[in-house]
Symmetry: C6
Subunit: 106 residues, 6 copies
């Protein structure tokens, strides 16, 4: 738009498309490749990560994700819906770690 | 529309209908026929696949699926809802694999 | 409508009511009377069937079900909601079958 | 309305209120007082009953329940939401019955 | 409103605020302090109580709760959503009581 | 607003931004670092805390959270949705504590 040839515009669009993609590291579904964590706090972080990464895998185009902002900050009800997904992921992770019963508390 | 006989139109419509169908491979409900996977990462992929395939089985007509685009990229709230289905499917798969407790981490 | 006496109309209405009912076989809640299936694929089919049949039992009048079309093809969000019900039913069936751990893969 | 004194109207209103209440038998939360059933089919029926009765206990005034019609026949999405509650109740009942593993199939 | 000084009004407002608060007993999260109940019926009642009390703890101001009426009688869909929460709480309580398997039926 | 230079305004904005952030203590995901609690009442409180903290971690900017008020007091349906998240978190915590079966009642 404005200065530059049609080719320039095309290249910019391509570059923009690349920059608007979720980074490759975000497309790994289970970072670390395990559900086992040292503490409940780390287990909780993994639950949040699983939720994020599965959203990124369904929709890797950041532009669609409300112009690059995380989808779930959009509304109070979306926040609650995401916290529900986190609760479900944490159920799985907590069970995998036998609820960290044998670990000293933080 | 435009050139061609009524018959041609009919044949095109039929062919279009065929092309607009979800491919047969997508209608298999549990690809691989097992819930057992080598790693959590593969388990997560299977969870996403189960979610996709059950949507495709309920509605195999791609045109209905918002003109061929995956249904769930429609809105942030739809994305969150799909990520919740994935979390539920993953609970089942993770339990089936005894949470991959005895496998080396990725 | 058009030809026929008032009685005829009444009989037609009655017949139509009968034809618009979900068939009796659809009102069985657990077809086959067991949660045990030979394969995960069959377990998945049973999960879909349980979801369908419980909707049909709540609302056996097909006319209410959006003039005879399956309720859940109405919108992308409905499709996702149904796929969530299927995920929940599958959790039960998979547990019932001990996740088909001892069966050869398909 | 029409004939009768103010008192009559009051009595009619009271009687109407009584008639518009969910019957007492519907307010029992777990009919039969057990989660154990002979077959999956009966377990499924119990799941539907639990869902109904908990709605009736929250809101025993039938008038509020869309003028006496069951609340959940209102829309396709409500039907799906009820079928999700049934799926959750059935998870509990199926576990209580150890998935009817040792019972002959229907 | 009408007679009385500004001070009177203030005191009335304070008293009203006190009266509009959920009673303290409603803010106990687990009445009785245990998940163990004698019967499934009592377990079901506890599930309903847990759901109520957690809503009251999030929002103890009755005025916000639709002018003192229980929040969940508002609409059919709210009723169904509450019945889903009850189903989830009951899953926990039923597991805690080992599904009352060893108790005589009601 | 009113007196002060542009710089003053900027500093005020920065300070305001700091004050509008959820306090650091709220960003700890599992306060106490364990899922084990002495009583069901404390377990319930932890469930509510987990739900709150995961919302705060997704959206730590209080201004977005409906001008500093907790997101979930917005509407009856939001309240019910939060109570559902609490029910899910409590399922995990109750299982971690083996349902407090061996503890004396409160």
């Amino acid at each position: 738009m404005g200065g530059g040839s049609a080719l320039d515009v095309s290249e910019t669009a391509e570059e923009e498309a690349r920059m608007n993609r979720v980074p490759e590291s975000e497309l790994v579904l289970v970072p670390g490749g395990t559900l086992i964590t040292a503490t409940p706090e780390e287990g909780r972080l993994l639950a949040i990560t699983l939720a994020h990464h599965s959203i990124h895998n369904i929709q890797p185009d950041l532009d669609v994700l409300v112009v690059g902002r995380p989808v779930y900050s959009a509304s109070p009800d979306s926040l609650i819906a995401v916290s529900q997904v986190i609760a479900l992921e944490f159920q799985t992770i907590a069970a995998a770690n036998d609820y960290w019963r044998d670990r000293p508390t933080g």
